[in-house]
């Protein structure tokens, strides 16, 4: 039996520094998992490895039965070409801490760029769907604005709509609210909560423990590149956490 997303013993080094150290995580279809841990624990790196923005030095990542980044061919694991990697990434949506909306395109153009250019969908269809997605995140009235004309919270919600427009199997969020002013955080969190109810599989790196407890099914706590504890999100409190270091972290954050 294998899970929907399965990381097996992944390791990532920068030079001699091991940043992700033998991490194994299994996530079922439709699950929402939060990745927690102190700064520098390697959480972003794990997400970037899943999305192949970083190449892993060891281990395997399998999404829905398909090995990511590599292919067994004539008795050897061969690295995928850029084109094949790009195809695999189409199925993985990613939302960055710094939004990364395309600065030269309007909100609507940001959302339809990949569906039209990569998936070759009809432009009229893509536009109609983009309006729907923007409506979902409450920003259809900003369709013709440029990213620089939006607040951080609005930009992040557009980024979510842009990722969803590719109909990904899996959504990755890297601290989606940590670059936002406090009063803008809840709009983005609400958009993600709503997404959780649609049954899409999500991995969320966050420092908002209350949100993590509410939205996610399970948590994974990392420290110094290793997984320290994983468990149901209900256990995300100083009293309920099992590992001493998780408790220490939670007592500081909560």
């Amino acid at each position: 039996m294998s899970a929907f997303l399965e990381l097996t013993g992944i390791t990532k080094k920068y030079g001699d520094t091991v940043v992700v150290d033998d991490v194994s995580i299994a996530i079922e279809k439709g699950e929402t998992v939060c990745l927690l841990g102190p700064s520098g624990a390697g959480k972003s790196t794990v997400l970037r490895c899943i999305n192949m923005l970083e190449r892993i030095d060891n281990g395997r990542i399998v999404l829905d039965g398909e090995e990511l980044g590599w292919r067994l061919h004539r008795g050897a694991m061969r690295e995928l070409s850029g084109r094949e990697e790009a195809r695999q990434r189409q199925e993985i949506g990613m939302v960055f801490q710094s939004f990364n909306l395309f600065a030269h395109l309007t909100v609507l153009e940001n959302v339809i760029e990949a569906p039209v250019g990569v998936l070759k969908r009809k432009k009229a269809e893509a536009i109609a769907e983009a309006h729907e997605l923007l409506q979902q995140v409450g920003l259809d009235h900003k369709a013709d604005a440029y990213p620089a004309q939006l607040s951080g919270g609005q930009q992040q919600r557009v980024a979510i709509a842009r990722a969803l427009a590719m109909h990904p199997k899996l959504m990755l969020f890297d601290e989606p609210t940590s670059a936002l002013d406090p009063e803008l955080v809840s709009d983005v969190l609400d958009a993600i909560k709503q997404l959780a109810t649609t049954g899409i599989t999500m991995v969320i790196v966050t420092h908002e423990i209350g949100f993590a407890r509410e939205v996610s099914d399970r948590f994974v706590f990392m420290e110094a590149g290793r997984v320290v504890e994983t468990g149901p999100s209900a256990r995300l409190s100083v009293e309920a956490a099992e590992n001493e270091r998780t408790r220490g972290f939670l007592s500081k954050v909560l």
Partner: protein, 310 residues
């Protein structure tokens, strides 16, 4: 003495007099007027001749060639420059090195030397052949002398050298596009080529446009060097005329005025392009990103995170 003269609060305020400033200005204006007057009434200037030749057919034909060489060269330079810049930034060390050597060579050789060298290329390679190298069959073979007439030599020279400079401008512009833009494109499943064409280049060109406009103006004036290889451009055309009628100064003034007219038009164009870019969303985003960086060092998101942790 009244109170108005003894009480600082009530006394009249007399601003400092900038006597020196006024004197310098007056002297300079007088000097300028004197110079202009001297020019206007200088017999050697010969305004009737200037008017006579300003719209002369050969002068206008020369101006046309000047514009042609400039326009073709800048277009080729931008396309070739984009290719070179991409090579410079590629992961392939051979491509990187080739692009570096190209830029190094064309920036090292003086324009005039290069121009004469290209013009005399037939001495180095009498024929130009397209075929399989190292003794394979030849498909096309042309005499270099037929192929490289002066105008072609001029266009080739200016295109190739300008490409070296433009590639450096473009390389810096490409590097100025935040890496997050490429990562976002990659995360959406865009291939490397698509990312460059749709995300990186459009943003880089906005940054590169003002320096490229500037280079175009420079290039236009540099093309007057083609007179050395007898391309009948604006400069060479007036040279031809004054070598037969000896009205050297009036004809040089004709050329000067035409260069000034074209440069003025280009400058006005550049002004509008820059004004449009200044209000562009990309620039606004770039400024906002810089603000974020400032925020990170003082009381920004990082500090906010620490506060939650405390």
């Amino acid at each position: 003495m009244s109170v108005h003269e003894t009480d600082p609060a009530l006394a009249r305020h007399v601003p400092q007099r900038h006597v020196g400033r006024a004197v310098v200005a007056v002297v300079l204006v007088i000097a300028l007027l004197w110079f202009v007057q001297g020019l206007a009434f200088n017999q050697a200037l010969d305004w009737p001749t200037i008017f006579q030749y300003f719209f002369d057919f050969n002068v206008l034909a020369g101006l046309g060639r000047t514009l042609l060489i400039t326009a073709v060269s800048i277009v080729v330079a931008v396309v070739l420059g984009a290719l070179l810049a991409t090579m410079r930034l590629s992961a392939n060390p051979v491509l990187r090195a080739l692009a570096w050597v190209y830029v190094w060579f064309f920036r090292s050789v003086p324009l005039l030397v290069l121009l004469v060298l290209t013009f005399n290329l037939s001495l180095l390679w009498p024929t130009i052949e397209i075929g399989i190298p190292f003794g394979g069959p030849t498909f096309v073979s042309m005499s270099t002398q037929d192929l490289i007439n002066p105008l072609v030599a001029a266009i080739v020279t200016f295109s190739l050298q300008q490409a070296a400079y433009t590639s450096e401008v473009l390389r810096a512009s490409i590097q100025s596009v935040p890496v997050g833009q490429r990562e976002a494109a990659a995360a959406l499943g865009m291939t490397g080529t698509r990312t460059m064409m749709r995300v990186v280049f459009p943003q880089a060109f906005r940054v590169a446009l003002p320096p490229i406009a500037n280079d175009t103006i420079n290039l236009l004036k540099s093309t007057s060097l083609v007179a050395f290889i007898a391309v009948p451009d604006l400069m060479y055309s007036v040279q031809q005329i004054y070598s037969s009628n000896f009205r050297i100064i009036p004809l040089l003034i004709v050329a000067t005025l035409w260069y000034m007219v074209v440069v003025s038009i280009l400058s006005i164009g550049q002004y509008f392009v820059e004004r449009k870019l200044r209000n562009s969303p990309v620039r606004a985003a770039r400024i906002a990103a810089t603000d974020d960086l400032d925020g990170l060092t003082a009381g920004g998101p990082l500090d906010a995170k620490k506060e939650t942790a405390a």
